[in-house]
């Protein structure tokens, strides 16, 4: 079976607080960056999955996101297969 590289990005759902992003945003001006806004911090997961084709690789990774990699209650995720 061919191997596909998956790249997942997990971010907060809109409206859910992002304390880490807010804290970095507050810290930046003191470092001299007064021109930065809307800082959001998320997670990426890269993995290699064996699957018959790209579509099935995507499906599996999406399912992994729902079950383990992300928490759909507060997080959104994006999957890119290559």
């Amino acid at each position: 079976m061919p191997a596909f590289h998956a790249h997942v990005e997990v971010t907060h759902l809109p409206g859910i607080a992002d304390p880490a992003g807010a804290t970095v945003e507050r810290a930046l001006p003191a470092l001299g960056y007064k021109n930065v806004a809307q800082v959001h911090i998320g997670k990426t997961i890269r993995l290699v999955v064996d699957a018959p084709d790209a579509e099935s690789a995507r499906e599996q990774v999406q399912e992994m996101c729902e079950r383990l990699l992300a928490n759909p209650v507060i997080e959104a995720y994006q999957v890119v297969i290559s």
């Binding site: 859910i16 304390p19 807010a22 209650v73």
Partner: protein
């Protein structure tokens, strides 16, 4: 679902009944507008108004000379002498934790801490009584793992150690875990403040996080109605905690109170600003004007309903005299927290909301955010209120005397005594070794280090006894005193007979505290029950409250606070009635480390109290053998008091080297736990009048305590027991590397240790949702 929720009238969508709406109309003399209705709906929710439970809770004894603040405030407060007081509170965060275990538990911790520092106390200890379904279920493991890491993630970071707690596993909690959190704070007596918005003209300053759309309607939606896992529509109510914000809030608020810059402080919890602002005003007999335009908002386009009912975390309301405002704002800047003047105390008995008024009339304070709606017209000084209600009415919710009925099945349940069956199965002479090992490995009894090592339990250098002890013991620096804390629940006993069960819950917590040499000075309770609209649930509730009240009365322990959580159910099944008691004990003079629950080689082992063949609701009958009927053990209150006082005095006089009470799993488990902790075996005889060996080993009679005693002191100890009217019996010695009870069990200490220590880690390794 029969009709789509959108076809329902607004008040029902907000969780209000038609009668409740009628009461609002009568109060206002007109129809409420959307904002007003939204505020009433959250304030009159079960969670905020205690409408089903208030009438019954008044039975608790609440007074004692050392009680400074009883139920009804952010936290109960008791005087511990030396100019110090402690503030204590317990709360549930059951439903949020079922939806999102990490954040649900984390925000539970955040909320309880705010309750405590809102009294002027520095939070110094957390405890976490937890209940889950059984661990062989993957979702339960996911919930357990998430809840524990949420408590760890928030508690450790905010800087409040978690010094003890409980974990019980029972199928009754499969769909509805119980996450209760207890917090204790300490304060110089003169820093005690009550949340009162005194003084017309004073300003209400909102401190902390910006207000977002998270948790809107949390009180009414999550905590006050039946709840089923996987209910997507309720998910936006999940909130994310920010322990770093809370840490800065704690420091800022305590500094504010030390500098006497605030006349009152109130946390924003359920029902958000609606509750905090109206309650502080109502308690002071004043009114309040609020301007939502002044609130810092996390998201664009939020409306007034959202702003007033949002339950965004990490926010506090301080009532400040105008002359102190500059100093308050400077202090907030130093701690890098937002501060905005959002309200003003008035001398009219009204709670009024405006949008933009404060800028128009020049109320001081920064405006941290543009007004709601970017194109909002500038407001003039005669702008009408967008809500205007009598301030008292919000907190004066309906009072229900719900129907009460003893379940029809109760007689049959009580008649199903497991005793006869177990006597047949385990006649005298049976080898009970396997039974003991099985009990040690039940997750409820097994070692909880997997949990407690994830918690900072040492911060502040107070923790003399932490997780693993019968009670946590915290020294009080600068004095000779120490505090002893224990939280306990006994749901299986409460199910079999809620009155007796209610007593037993109090007795166990008080007994644990006695084992550290303390005398109980206060109790807080968290009452987790099913649907109060079920008369059977209300009967359980009423009986439990009665039983707890009786025990508190007999032991002289005032109830200084509590929390009621209804609507806990898995599917259609209400959970077992689960009251949790947190008892606070005081040790007047802590000269040395109190004895631990362990044995030393060569010690005599003495059992204080009476062993009776009481197997109803025991871990052995119910969990190992699936026999969950019968009657719970008797709860003799006079005997309990005598045993507690005796044990506390033995500990104080250093007559015992080790001490542990008999609880889950009975005498055999208590002895095994002490042997494991002391790394030494036992040789005992567990034959008691009226008991088979199995009953002697595994029954769970109340008010029994095991002591490890230097043989030179055994006679003195037995003498003290006789003088106190408490039976004492030397059952054997600590020796060797086996647990041997003649004619009952013979187990290698190493095997017992392995069974007890590895049970939870083994179940959790590879845990996945």
């Amino acid at each position: 679902m029969a009709e789509s929720p959108n076809e329902q009238p607004l008040h029902r969508r907000l969780g209000m009944t038609d009668e409740e709406l009628a009461a609002v109309v009568e109060e206002l003399g007109r129809e409420p507008n959307h904002l007003e209705l939204a505020m009433y709906s959250v304030m009159w929710s079960e969670h905020c108004s205690y409408k089903s439970s208030r009438a019954l809770l008044s039975r608790f004894p609440t007074e004692a000379p050392w009680v400074l603040v009883g139920p009804g405030e952010g936290a109960g407060v008791v005087d511990i002498g030396d100019g110090l007081a402690v503030a204590v509170r317990i709360e549930s965060h059951n439903h949020p934790s079922a939806v999102e275990p990490y954040q649900g538990a984390a925000t539970g911790v955040g909320g309880i801490i705010r309750d405590v520092f809102s009294m002027g106390a520095r939070p110094i200890a957390l405890m976490d009584p937890l209940r889950f379904g059984s661990l062989d279920d993957a979702r339960t493991r996911y919930l357990f793992e998430g809840v524990v890491s949420g408590i760890s993630g928030y508690g450790n970071s905010v800087g409040v150690p978690t010094v003890g707690g409980e974990v019980v596993f029972d199928d009754t909690y499969r769909g509805n875990p119980l996450v209760n959190v207890f917090c204790l704070g300490i304060l110089p007596k003169e820093r005690l403040v009550l949340a009162r918005a005194e003084g017309p003209g004073n300003l209400a300053v909102l401190l902390g996080s910006a207000t977002g759309r998270d948790g809107i309607g949390g009180a009414s939606v999550l905590a006050s109605a039946s709840f089923e896992a996987g209910d997507e529509a309720k998910r936006p109510s999940v909130q994310v905690g920010d322990p770093f914000e809370e840490k800065r809030l704690i420091e800022a608020c305590l500094e504010l109170l030390d500098a006497k810059l605030a006349v009152g402080v109130q946390d924003l919890g359920a029902a958000g600003l609606s509750c905090a602002a109206s309650e502080t005003a109502a308690k002071a007999g004043a009114g309040m004007d609020v301007d939502v335009a002044r609130m810092a908002k996390r998201e664009p386009g939020m409306n007034a309903v959202e702003a007033m009912t949002s339950e965004s975390q990490e926010r506090m309301l301080a009532i400040v005299e105008p002359s102190n405002l500059e100093a308050v704002l400077a202090l907030a800047r130093r701690w890098e927290i937002r501060a905005a003047v959002v309200g003003r105390v008035t001398d009219t008995p009204r709670f009024r909301i405006f949008d933009g008024l404060f800028d128009a009339i020049g109320v001081p304070g920064e405006n941290p955010a543009p007004p709601i709606g970017d194109d909002a017209p500038s407001v003039t000084s005669d702008a009408p209120a967008i809500a205007d209600v009598p301030v008292e009415s919000l907190g004066d919710g309906p009072l229900y005397h719900r129907p009460v009925a003893r379940p029809a099945s109760q007689d049959a349940l009580q008649a199903a005594d497991p005793g006869p069956q177990l006597r047949d199965k385990f006649p005298p002479g049976s080898d009970l070794s396997g039974e003991l090992l099985a009990l040690l490995a039940t997750p409820t009894i097994a070692d909880k280090t997997w949990v407690s090592r994830q918690y900072d339990h040492q911060l502040f250098l107070n923790t003399v006894a932490g997780p693993g002890a019968d009670a946590a013991v915290l020294r009080v620096k600068g004095t000779a005193k120490a505090l002893a804390l224990s939280t306990d629940g006994k749901a299986r006993f409460c199910r079999l007979d809620p009155r007796t069960g209610g007593r037993l819950v109090v007795l166990e917590a008080a007994r644990n505290v006695a084992c550290s040499g303390a005398r109980p000075i206060a109790l807080v309770n968290c009452l987790n029950f099913g649907n109060p609209e079920h008369p059977e649930v209300m009967w359980q509730f009423s009986e439990v409250v009665e039983g707890m009240s009786e025990a508190c009365g007999a032991l002289g322990i005032p109830v200084i606070g509590g929390n009621v959580s209804f609507y806990n159910a898995s599917g259609d099944d209400d959970i077992h009635p689960t009251p949790v008691a947190g008892v606070i004990g005081l040790i007047d003079d802590l000269r040395r480390r109190p004895p631990t629950a362990s044995l030393r080689d060569g010690d005599d082992i003495v059992v204080l109290g009476s062993i009776r063949p009481e197997l109803g609701g025991s871990e052995w009958a119910a969990v190992v053998h699936g026999l969950d009927g019968g009657m719970p053990p008797a709860a003799d209150l006079d005997r309990a008091r005598a045993v507690h006082e005796l044990v506390a005095s033995l500990v104080r006089d250093a007559l015992v080297a080790g001490v542990h009470d008999l609880s889950d799993g009975g005498l055999a488990v208590a002895l095994a736990e002490m042997a494991i902790a002391g790394e030494v075996g036992i040789r005992v005889e567990l034959n008691f009048d009226g008991c088979t060996p199995a009953e002697g080993c595994f029954a769970e009679p109340a008010s029994v305590v095991v002591c490890a005693v230097n043989p030179h002191e055994t006679a003195a100890l037995c003498g003290a027991a006789a003088a106190a009217g408490v039976p004492a019996r030397v059952v054997g010695v600590a020796a060797g590397d086996r647990l041997i009870a003649k004619g009952a069990f013979d187990v290698a200490l190493a095997d017992a240790t392995h069974a007890w220590r590895d049970a939870i880690p083994a179940l959790m390794s590879g845990a996945t949702p």
